[in-house]
């Protein structure tokens, strides 16, 4: 029942999660977010380790900002903003109750795998099975686009 209530509060996750953005739109947005952020980073001198972390965060932030129509991007943004201010995020009920129901039908393996998948996806803790599967689809697509964008940036610099 609690789960139900939680789900009621967060009813709408993605708008049209199955509709993917065209690659160029995403890439353009991504680059437009990332490049200025990188330049800003260049202004301030910082140690390599911190630099790496901040670059990583900028990368993630650019990803999240470029894909705002998806649920996982919102979770990612939350995580990023909370990592700036160290507050603990509460994880709500996990997938366990739901997967347990299915493990009667199928192996416990699948349950394990879904849990892992849940961990990989930002915000996966708070989604149920079907949502995860949907979100993973567009998450993968955006990751691919992000990878190519980063690749091209890096390769052009070397």
């Amino acid at each position: 029942m609690e789960r139900q209530m939680i789900n009621k509060k967060k009813r709408v996750f993605s708008f049209e999660p199955t509709k993917l953005p065209p690659s160029e739109v995403f890439t353009r947005k991504y680059i437009s977010h990332l490049v200025p952020a990188l330049k800003k980073l260049n202004m301030g001198k910082s140690s390599p380790q911190i630099n790496q972390l901040t670059v990583k965060r900028e990368v993630d932030k650019a990803l999240a900002l470029s894909a705002q129509e998806f649920a996982w991007s919102r979770f990612l943004l939350q995580k990023l903003s909370s990592s700036n201010n160290p507050t603990t995020t509460t994880s709500s009920s996990s997938i366990q109750t739901q997967i347990l129901e299915r493990s009667n039908d199928e192996d416990g393996e699948i349950e394990e795998k879904l849990k892992e998948l849940q961990k990989l996806l930002p915000g996966g803790e708070e989604m149920n099975v079907e949502e995860i599967l949907t979100e993973i689809g567009n998450y993968i697509k955006c990751l691919e686009l992000q990878t190519s964008a980063l690749k091209s940036i890096v390769q052009d610099a070397t």
Binding site: N7, R11, V35, L41, T147, S148, T158
Partner: protein, 345 residues
């Protein structure tokens, strides 16, 4: 709210039977009036249930028709009055409503069960609030949450396979299962095959399973190398590996970027410009329907089609472009080809 509901229904259900559409409307109005008026006319459940149970096993059209007439009968105490046809006009339905309203049983088992029955067999598209109220009134005996909580963002096709499914007489006896959670917007049409269980739980289970398998198929197309593996566990494995590898790649590239960052500064603008150019020439251009959200408009001015307005950029950068960038240009062109290829999985 009802009007919007109704209009939404009528928009999206144009292909449906008229009778089903009106059933939906009736149900909506029914529930609304339940809320508003909260009639509490008590009818003995013993009277109601056997007669209602009679209607089980028939086509739902008849079912509701019979419920109409039944309600009238209960109220008036006369025999079933089938003269209230289920015609295409709304008047008879309104007439029905006015009568049924007063005999709204808060004996909610039967009514709630009946409504839920017909609802779940037919009206997967009704709004959640109303349904939840009906359910709470039905004392939540059956906790089946099939698609009752749906939002109406997506298309709602309601297809009832009434000829195959029969309203089970166990509805009143069904116990609540622990937690089903379907809240998606798209619907999977479930057809009960011969010999399969047709009670609501298994229908919902089947619908859920089909949804999940549909998604898995979609993921299979997305993740390279999934075709060879069969079975959900294997595919999930592949997906997990793929996501992990992508994330690792991103990490690695960002580390590289962090190292290279200082050197990137000067040529970055120029490079990104060319990058977009390459994208738009190599890839099929999909016109963005809405204007893209650009953070730094002056850096990357876009016209309506999303192609860069290079003429604006280049003069500004002409002075800042240094000699090394010339060699980068040739390099970058070839690299853009590879990067654009990278988009095609």
């Amino acid at each position: 709210m009802l009007e919007s509901l109704v209009s939404l229904e009528s928009m999206s259900l144009s292909s449906m039977d008229v009778s089903v559409l009106e059933r939906l409307k009736w149900l909506q109005q029914q529930q609304q009036q339940q809320q508003q008026q909260q009639q509490q006319q008590v009818l003995s459940s013993t009277n109601a249930s056997p007669e209602l149970l009679q209607f089980h096993g028939t086509n739902n059209d008849e079912l509701l028709q019979n419920t109409f007439s039944h309600f009238q009968m209960l109220r008036s105490g006369f025999g079933p009055n089938y003269s209230m046809g289920f015609g295409p006009s709304h008047e008879p339905m309104d007439g029905c409503i006015s009568r049924t309203n007063s005999c709204q049983m808060d004996q909610a088992d039967t009514v709630g069960v009946m409504l839920k029955n017909s609802e779940e067999n037919i009206a997967f598209s009704l709004k959640s609030k109303r349904k939840s109220e009906v359910k709470t009134r039905a004392e939540e005996k059956t906790e089946k949450k099939i698609k009752v909580e749906a939002e109406t963002e997506s298309n709602m096709k309601v297809k009832s396979n009434l000829s195959n499914t029969e309203a089970s007489s166990e509805t009143s006896k069904q116990t609540s299962k622990g937690a089903s959670e379907i809240q998606k917007l798209d619907y999977i049409h479930v057809r009960a095959r011969r010999g399969q269980a047709t009670d609501r739980h298994s229908l919902a289970e089947r619908a859920r399973r089909e949804k999940i398998s549909k998604k898995m198929k979609y993921l299979q197309d997305l993740v390279p190398g999934c075709n060879k593996v069969t079975g959900r566990a294997g595919m999930l494995d592949e997906i997990i590996n793929y996501v992990q590898s992508l994330q690792r790649q991103v990490e690695f590239l960002s580390m590289k970027l962090a190292v290279l960052n200082p050197e990137l500064e000067l040529a970055m603008e120029d490079l990104s410009v060319k990058q977009f150019q390459a994208y738009f020439t190599n890839l099929p251009v999909l016109v963005a329907s809405k204007p893209s959200l650009m953070v730094d408009a002056p850096l990357f001015p876009l016209d309506q089609q999303g192609s860069l307005d290079l003429s604006v950029i280049n003069p500004n950068q002409a002075t800042s472009i240094e000699a090394p960038s010339a060699s980068w240009e040739t390099q970058s062109q070839s690299l853009y080809n590879t990067s654009s290829l990278g988009f095609q999985y």
